[in-house]
Subunit: 236 residues, 4 copies
C-alpha cells in the first residue's frame, strides 16, 4: 500500500469516526490535502459520511474542480475545503459539520470559549461567519469560491470558524487533529452551555494556558485516535 493509499484509508476512517461520534449525520464532510501536491485535495462524492468508502473519494484542485474527468456528483459545499487549503499552508485536513451543540453558538451573540484543556485550540477564538454580510439572502450554503474565500478569511489563522444558521468548520495539521477539533468543539459547546446554565461565574482557559496545552495535545492525540479507529473504523 502506498503512503497515499494509507492516507486515503485514514480519510475513510475519519468519515466513519465523525459519524460514530455523532459529529456528522446525513450531512457534513471531511477532506485531506494531497501530501505531494499541495494544490489538490481529496473529498468523498456527495454521500453520508457513514457510508463513505475508498472508492467514493474524489480529487479536486483548489478551485474545487473535480480532477481526472470524475463526473460523479460532488458535495455542493466543497468550496469550503478548496478555499481554506488555498489560504492555509499549515492546514492538511478540514471538517465541516452541523453538530447540534455548536449550531446554537453559531446563532447566538454568546462567544464560544475554551472551558477546558481538551478544547484549548479555541483560545484563538471561533468567529461567526455571517454569509448575509457579503452575499445577502442565500440558501446558506457555501456554493462557490467567493463564498468559500469569505468563510476562510473569517476563519483566518484560527482552528475553528462558526457559520451563522448553518454549522462550523475545523482544520488541522493532519486528519486526526481536524477530527479531534471537530469533536471537542462540539463538546466544548455542550460544556459551556451547561456552565452558563449553572448561573455562576465561569473561568475559561487563558490564551496562554490554551496555547500551552495545544502544544501538548499533539503528543497525546494518538490515544483517542486509536480508540476511535478501533471503535468506528470500517475494518471492524
Amino acid at each position: 500500500m502506498t503512503n497515499l493509499d494509507a492516507l486515503l484509508d485514514d480519510l475513510v476512517v475519519a468519515n466513519r469516526i465523525l459519524a460514530g461520534l455523532g459529529v456528522v449525520d446525513g450531512f457534513g464532510h471531511v477532506s485531506v490535502r494531497h501530501p505531494e501536491r499541495p494544490d489538490r485535495y481529496f473529498l468523498s462524492r456527495s454521500l453520508a459520511p457513514e457510508q463513505v468508502t475508498h472508492d467514493d473519494l474524489m480529487m479536486f484542485d483548489l478551485a474545487s474542480v473535480p480532477q481526472n474527468g470524475d463526473r460523479r456528483a460532488p458535495y455542493l459545499e466543497r468550496f469550503i475545503h478548496g478555499e481554506i487549503y488555498a489560504r492555509r499552508p499549515d492546514v492538511a485536513a478540514v471538517v465541516h459539520s452541523h453538530a447540534a451543540a455548536v449550531v446554537p453558538f453559531a446563532a447566538s451573540t454568546v462567544e464560544l470559549k475554551p472551558i477546558y484543556h481538551m478544547s484549548s485550540f479555541l483560545h484563538l477564538g471561533a468567529p461567526v461567519f455571517e454569509i448575509r454580510e457579503k452575499f445577502g439572502m442565500t440558501d446558506m450554503l457555501i456554493r462557490n469560491s467567493a463564498q468559500g474565500a469569505a468563510l476562510a478569511e473569517t476563519m483566518d489563522k484560527r482552528a475553528v470558524v462558526l457559520m451563522r444558521g448553518h454549522g462550523y468548520c475545523t482544520v488541522g495539521a493532519d486528519i486526526p487533529e481536524a477530527v479531534f477539533r471537530a469533536y471537542y468543539t462540539q463538546l466544548n459547546a455542550e460544556l459551556q452551555q451547561r456552565a452558563i446554565g449553572l448561573g455562576g461565574e465561569i473561568r475559561f482557559l487563558t490564551n496562554e494556558e490554551g496555547a500551552l496545552y495545544d502544544e501538548t495535545n499533539r503528543k497525546v492525540i494518538g490515544r483517542p485516535w486509536e480508540l476511535w479507529k478501533d471503535k468506528f473504523g470500517p475494518t471492524r
Copy 2:
C-alpha cells in the same frame, strides 16, 4: 414489484426510520397518499412504528374509514391524516409524533423558529393547535373528522403544526420529505432551546433564507434518506 408495492415498502421503511431516529416511540404514525387515487391513503394498523411490516398497512378514504372491509384496529387518530390530505393536494405524506424536544414548544408561548438551514421549512411558522378552543375538555386526541379538520386548518399551508399538550405533525411532497421534516423539527427544537439557554440574542433564518434552502433541500434530501434506510430499514 409494482410501483405501489415499492411505495408501501418505503412507508414501512419510514416507520422504522422514525423509530430508529427516536422521533417516535410506542406512539406516533406515518402515512402516504395513494399515488393513483388521491382520495385514499395508507397507514399501519394500530401498532408501534418500529414493529410495522408491509402486512400491517391498511387503506383508508379521506373520511378515514378503512377500505376493503379491513376490520383490524386502526389508530384512533387516523383523522389527522385524512383531513390533511383532504385539504392539501400538495401533500403526499404525513407524520404524527410526540418527540420529546418538540412537546415543550407545543406547551409554551415561545415560538418555534428556524435556527439553521436544515429546518428552513419552519420559515412558514409552526402554529400551536389548541384543541380546547373548539372542543373544550377532551382526552387531547384527534378522534374524529371535525377535530382533524380543525387541526388541518390551523396547519394551513405550512409544513408543521404543533399540538398543545400532545405533539406535532409534519407533511411532505413525498415520504422522505415528511420524515426529514419530522426529524429536523425535533432537532430545531433542541437547538433553539439550547440557544435560549445561552442567554444571548438569537439570529434565526429570515423567511427568504428559509425559502431558498427549502428549495435546495429537495436536491440533497436523498443523502440522509439513503443513510437512514441503510441504518434502520427492515431488510437489515
Copy 3:
C-alpha cells in the same frame, strides 16, 4: 404455564424493560401483587433489575417479610411495596426508581405537572415525600414499615410520589400501567424542564383533560408494552 407463572414472567419482563428504557440502573425495583392472595406480593431478591430472572423472585407478605423460609437477601426498601399494597386495593404493581430526570423535581420546590397526555396520570399531583419530617436524619432509605407507611400516606390515591433526595414511585392497576407511568413520569420531568428553560408561559393539562386521557390510555397501553417486551424482554 399457570396464570401465576405468566404474571411472574411479566414481572421479569418489567425489570428488563425498566432497565432498557433507562428508568432504573443498578438500583430501583418493580413488584406485583399476588393475583389470588392480595396480602402477598412478588419482588426480586436484591439484584440489579437488568439481571433479574424468574428464579430471583421472592414472595413477601404486606409486612414485607419473605415467605416460605426464603433466606436470600431482599431489597432493603421492600417496605415501599408492602405498605403501598396495604393501603391501595386498586394497585397491583409498584415501581421504585432514581431516574435522573425526576430527582431534580424531588429536590425542588417546583411542582411536577402533566405537560402532555402521555403523563396525564400526573393530574392528581406528585407530592414530595420528606422523610426528615417524621424520621429526622436518616440514610434516606425506606427501611421499615413505618417509613413505608408514611410514604404511602403521602402518595395517598395518586399515581406517583416523589421522594426528596432519593427518587420516586409509581403504581398501576397492572404491571404495564406501573411501568408506563414510571417511564412517562421521567419523560414528563424532562419535558417540563425543557419547557421551563424556554422562558415563556407553560400550559399544562387541566385535571379534566388528564382524567379523560388516563381513561383512554388503558385502551392503548398494550401498544408500547408489546414494543418494549419485544425490544427488551429476556427471550431476546
Copy 4:
C-alpha cells in the same frame, strides 16, 4: 489465579466500566494500590481505558516512577495517583476523568452538592483545584509530584476533587467505590444542573444524611458493580 491477579483483573474491568458508562473517553485513567505494598500502585500504560488489558498494566512507586525497568510510555498525569496514595492511607483506588457533566462545575463558582443519596459522598464537599494559584500558566496537566501534591492537598480527606479547566478525581477504599463515586459525581452534576434549571429552591442532603447513606452504600455497592462488570467487562 493469585489475589493480585484477581485485583489487576478488576482494574481492567474498572477501565472498561468507566468507558462503558461514559465517565471516560479517549482520556482518563484508574489505578489501584498494591495490596501488599502500600508504596506501590498499578496503572495502565498510556492508552484509552476502553482498550486496556492485563498486559498494559504498569507498576509505579509513590514518586510515580515505573518499576521493574518498564519502559513503556506512562500517562503524563500519573502523579495524580502517586501523590494521593502518599497522603491517603485510607485510599486504595483513584479515578481521573473529564466527564462532560462535571467540567462545568470545575469552571464555575457554583458548588457541587449532594442532591440525592447516591452521591452522598459529596457531603464532604468537592473543592476546585486551581492550578494557576501555585504554578501560574501551565498546560493544565498534573505533570510532576509537586503538582500532584498540591492537588492531593486540595482534596484533603474528601472523596472528590474538581480541577479547574480540566476534570476531577475520585477515590475509594477499593476499586468499586472509586468507580461508583466517579459515576455518581457525574450523575450528581447532571442532576444538580437540571435542578438549577427548574428555577425553584433546591434541598440538598444534609451532612448527616450524607454520612449515614455513605455507610449504607458500602453494603449495596456490589449490586451496581456486578451489573457493570456483566455489561462492560472484557470477558463479555
